[in-house]
């Protein structure tokens, strides 16, 4: 059976929703929200079907698709100097991220029930954002990747700037400018690679770079890798390029933060692994110590600052920085355990932060605050929500049996093997993680109550869907990690091969 239509349909299916929404009257709040939610389902169904396809033991390369698209020519009659193809494909790693994206997007569409105004515009942008994200993870060449990457910028800018909280415009701008600069650096890297090798296909580039007769000097490659590190470092974010991300996490509406923290930050990790490590393995090795140090700084900086925040959203924002440090630590280890840990952390943090930010949205909706102090004693009024909040926090601090543990454990296992001293310093971060999360969550659930929570409605109805689904996935990965590790096997082998050679 020819399956090459699957990815195109998967990536562009949300557009259908945009078209339907365009013809709906803008006052029908319920119908718009329902259509917006429905529009995320085809992508989810196809993503899960692709996963089932993989589980059935069939090849993921069945999905690959390629067409000629943009060309650059010199004299007429000549063959094109450069061609850019429309190429989509899936590897195990990409498959996981696509499934993660589809799941979080659907759940975030549910979370978008809290949107108060202009639902139509909101969902149209939201669905466009989903197209961008799915495209980023399935693109098989750098230019296509870049295009989808930029497509995520515009809707996010508007979603933050229009539907966010008090300082939304400032947050939207700093998002746009930081990410714009990041993508500018990325574009330069892509264009240099393109001009030097004549291709932007990622697999081809990997092969060309592995060839010692490649038309690039070692210094240039190192320069390109450092540029990539900066470009994706903005996205991840790596200290000191993180300040925009704090603003976004605090100001953006909850469902956008679910997407942002759950998926968009992961584009940075994905880029570093797929392009940084994949295309420039030898140079990555040179920078490994630096990356490990950056990772430890991220981990500790995030953790220490999270400890003193009074706003729960800020705690989670710093916690994201801290957790992305673990991704860097895992990558810097340059061994199988480390890289696997990093990828696990990418997926696991995506689920956990989506869960926590959804709960923040639930609480904010009812109490109009996200300050830890004001939420003290919430367990009395909303026991179920408080319970899930605690579960999310436990997963985040790495309680065994949940996804956070597996990823942290493996990432540190990897680094202890290579750079034990640095890893030892890093473990302080793990302790701090437990400290700040427990301080914040316990302060909220069982802390001193400053107000009566009687009369507040606990989680109800459709709100259970995101919470239960995310918690279930977190536990599933925790107790049965091979849902992640088996699709990753092939990807890891390729990367290790690159590193070994």
């Amino acid at each position: 059976m020819n399956l090459s239509w699957v990815l195109t349909t998967l990536v562009f299916s949300p557009l259908l929703g945009i078209v339907v929404l365009a013809f709906m009257p803008k006052t029908q709040e319920k119908a718009i929200k329902f259509v917006g939610f429905l529009a995320t389902l085809p992508a989810l169904a196809l993503a899960l079907a692709a996963y089932a396809h993989y589980l059935a033991g069939k090849k993921l390369s069945d999905f690959t698709i390629g067409h000629e698209w943009i060309q650059f020519r010199g004299m007429s009659g000549d063959a094109p100097i450069f061609s850019v193809y429309y190429e989509l494909g899936l590897s195990g790693f990409q498959l996981l991220l696509v499934v993660l994206t589809a799941v979080v997007a659907t759940l975030a569409a549910i979370a978008a029930r809290y949107v108060k105004k202009e639902w139509k515009g909101y969902f149209m942008l939201f669905l466009l954002l989903e197209v961008g994200m799915l495209g980023v993870f399935t693109a098989e060449n750098l230019i296509l990747f870049f295009i989808f990457f930029e497509i995520t910028l515009i809707p996010t800018f508007f979603l933050i700037g229009k539907w966010g909280y008090f300082e939304k415009e400032k947050a939207a701008y700093s998002f746009l400018i930081y990410n714009g600069l990041g993508s500018a650096v990325l574009l330069i890297v892509i264009m240099i690679l393109f001009a030097k090798t004549g291709t932007t296909n990622i697999d081809l580039l990997t092969k060309i770079m592995a060839d010692p007769s490649a038309p690039l000097s070692g210094d240039l490659k190192l320069g390109l890798l450092i540029s990539l590190l900066i470009a994706f470092g903005v996205k991840l974010p790596i200290f000191p390029l993180h300040s925009w991300m704090l603003k976004v996490h605090v100001q953006a509406p909850p469902s956008v933060v679910m997407i942002h923290s759950g998926i968009l930050l992961k584009i940075g990790a994905y880029g570093l692994i797929r392009f940084g490590m994949g295309i420039f393995p030898a140079q990555f090795e040179t920078l490994a110590t630096l990356i490990a140090i950056l990772g430890v700084i991220n981990l500790l900086y995030g953790a220490f600052l999270a400890f003193i925040q009074s706003d729960f959203k800020m705690v989670l924002a710093y916690s994201s920085i801290s957790h992305m440090g673990i991704v860097l630590i895992g990558l810097a280890a340059m061994n199988e355990a480390g890289i696997q840990g990093a990828i696990f952390q990418v997926v696991s943090h995506g689920l956990i932060s989506a869960l926590l930010f959804f709960l923040v949205g639930v609480l904010y909706e009812r109490t109009d605050t996200s300050l830890i102090e004001n939420l003290g004693g919430i367990a009395k009024g909303m026991p179920i929500a408080a319970g899930f909040l605690l579960a999310g926090a436990m997963a985040s601090l790495g309680l065994p049996g949940m996804s956070g543990f597996v990823s942290e454990f493996m990432a540190f296992l990897g680094l202890f093997k290579e750079l034990p001293w640095l890893a030892a310093v890093g473990t302080i971060g793990i302790i701090m993680t437990a400290a700040y999360l427990l301080r914040a969550v316990l302060g909220m659930t069982f802390g001193k109550a400053h107000r009566e929570f009687i009369g507040f409605v606990d989680l109800k109805g459709v709100e259970f869907v995101p919470v239960v689904v995310l918690t279930a996935l977190i536990v599933l990965i925790g107790v049965y990690p091979s849902v992640l590790s088996s699709p990753l096997q092939a990807t890891l082998e390729t990367i290790m091969l690159g590193l070994g050679g």
């Binding site: 698209w69 943009i70 060309q71 650059f72 020519r73 010199g74 004299m75 007429s76 009659g77 100097i81 450069f82 230019i143 870049f146 295009i147 989808f148 930029e150 497509i151 910028l153 515009i154 800018f157 508007f158 700037g161 229009k162 939304k168 415009e169 701008y173 746009l176 400018i177 714009g180 600069l181 500018a184 650096v185 574009l187 330069i188 264009m191 240099i192 393109f194 001009a195 030097k196």
Partner: protein, 510 residues
């Protein structure tokens, strides 16, 4: 020249020019005999029809051989055809804007002139694309410039408009003089005004000392034409002129005049200085030797255009600086001199035509409604007219160069060119960094449109705050958005047309 000789010339290659010329004559006569109070809009529609007819005839010429008449002063090559299409397309859209423009401040007395002066300027630009001789090139330039000076000041009763015309005529005159002085050196050295003949002679130039003279002439021509392009540091006139001129004229200056400016730059620099040897035959041409000067101008233009645009509170001034910045991007393509250069410039100008024309259409509608051109007037546009707001959003995204739009593909072409061959890392980095800077002001307008509430006064007007879009504006907006998106997603349409019909590189030097 006897009459037989005169007749034997292949005049058919000038068909598009003749169409425009004839219609100008007809319009002048019609204007003369029409009753005083009759609506002159009909003249605009005739003008549009003429431009479309000329476009059809240009299309018909695509794919033919290079032909020239009148001692090679007028040549029809692929370069001419490609850029004539742009100029005519831009001219048609400007006329659509002009027919929907509310004539005030003295313009109401000259609506007839308004249309045929626009057409005369257009004719000048067309002659420039086709000229194979310094004299026709200069005549075309002046034929474009002089009606433009009048057009800028056609709103006689408005102070801004007068200021605009005054500044434009003085700066334009000086720059023409400087460029002409530079050209005189070239003529002095070669004794010819024919571009190809000059090129032939200069490539055999034996005396290295004379190359210095040519270098001087290169710089003078560059300065003179730099004024025309509004390249930094010769851009000072642009904001005042753009702000003061009536909106359709601003659109004309920013799109058609700019296209014509690049035509003349490419014609002169490439044919004359692209072949002039620096040090005896076979040595590197002056253009390559002087590449760094071009690069500095390109970088300065991008930086100044984009950075100063940040501080503007008037939308037309902002677009003036934005158009300076776009000239900078185009100069990058001129500087890098790859075989892809013609196509890059052409495509960028095509994309620029769509996005800028559309944006000016929106500006015209909004400023007519509010009576001023402040950026703050766009506040709440999304509430008042969602379609207009989304249209402007798409055009701004294209101007900022985001993927999915023609603006992105245009930048990509130039960008690839900067790395193909001799890589220009610094120039490319400046280009990309200033592009990010441009997000600030393009998105600043979007912030007003989408995030800010409409001012209370217009909210209260109820139905009155709605926009009614004249037919001409609707046409421009549809063409602009469809063009921006279509060429953003399927750029190969333009590429295939170019490569199947027009072989610019081949034609240009033969």
């Amino acid at each position: 020249m006897s009459f037989d000789q005169f007749q034997s010339l292949n005049w058919s290659i000038m068909t598009p020019e003749f169409i425009i010329l004839a219609v100008i004559a007809i319009l002048v006569i019609m204007d003369l005999f029409m009753p005083k109070h009759m609506d002159r809009k009909i003249l605009g529609w005739i003008g549009i029809a003429a431009i479309l007819a000329a476009m059809v005839s240009v299309f018909g010429m695509a794919g033919g051989h290079v032909e020239s008449i009148l001692h090679d002063t007028f040549r029809l090559d692929s370069f001419a055809i490609a850029f004539k299409l742009l100029i005519l397309g831009g001219g048609a859209l400007v006329l659509f804007l002009a027919t929907s423009y509310k004539a005030t401040d003295g313009l109401e007395r000259y609506t007839g002139e308004f249309y045929y002066l626009l057409l005369s300027a257009l004719l000048g630009a067309m002659v420039m694309t086709s000229s194979g001789d310094l004299i026709t090139l200069y005549i075309g330039l002046e034929l474009l410039s002089i009606p433009s000076y009048i057009l800028a000041g056609i709103q006689k009763d408005r102070l801004n408009s007068n200021e605009s015309a005054m500044k434009y005529v003085i700066n334009g005159g000086i720059s023409s003089a400087i460029a002409l002085f530079g050209m005189s050196y070239v003529y002095g050295l070669t004794g010819s005004t024919n571009l190809l003949e000059i090129a032939g002679q200069l490539s055999m130039l034996m005396d290295g000392q004379q190359a210095y003279l040519l270098g001087l002439s290169f710089l003078m021509i560059l300065v003179g034409l730099g004024f025309k392009l509004a390249a930094a540091p010769f851009h000072m006139w642009a904001p005042d002129v753009y702000q003061g001129a009536p909106t359709p004229v601003t659109a004309f200056l920013s799109v058609v005049s700019k296209t014509a400016g690049f035509v003349i730059v490419v014609r002169i620099l490439l044919t004359v200085f692209g072949s002039a040897a620096t040090n005896g035959p076979g040595s590197i041409p002056i253009l390559l030797d002087m590449q760094n000067y071009l690069a500095v101008i390109a970088a300065a233009t991008m930086i100044i255009g984009n950075v100063v645009a940040l501080r503007q509170s008037d939308i037309k001034r902002m677009f003036a600086y934005s158009s300076i910045a776009h000239a900078g991007y185009l100069l990058v393509a001129v500087t890098t001199l790859t075989s892809n250069m013609f196509y890059s410039i052409w495509f960028y100008l095509l994309a620029y035509l769509f996005m800028n024309m559309g944006a000016f259409a929106v500006i015209q509608v909004v400023s007519e409604k509010t009576g001023s051109t402040k950026i703050a007037d766009f506040a709440g546009l999304y509430r008042r007219s969602p379609w207009l707001a989304v249209t402007m959003g798409i055009l701004l995204i294209s101007l900022a160069g985001f993927p999915g739009t023609a603006g992105f593909i245009g930048k990509l072409n130039i960008f690839v060119g900067a790395f193909a061959g001799q890589p220009h890392y610094v120039l490319a980095s400046v280009m990309i960094a200033t592009t990010v800077v441009s997000y600030f002001y393009y998105f600043g307008v979007m912030t007003q449109i989408f995030f800010r509430p409409a001012p209370a006064a217009s909210e209260g007007e109820g139905e009155g705050s709605k926009f009614n879009l004249p037919f001409g504006i609707v046409v421009v907006l549809i063409v602009a958005v469809v063009g921006s998106v279509l060429f953003g997603i399927m750029p190969n349409i333009a590429l295939d047309f170019m490569h199947n019909n027009l072989d610019i590189v081949q034609d240009f030097f033969s």
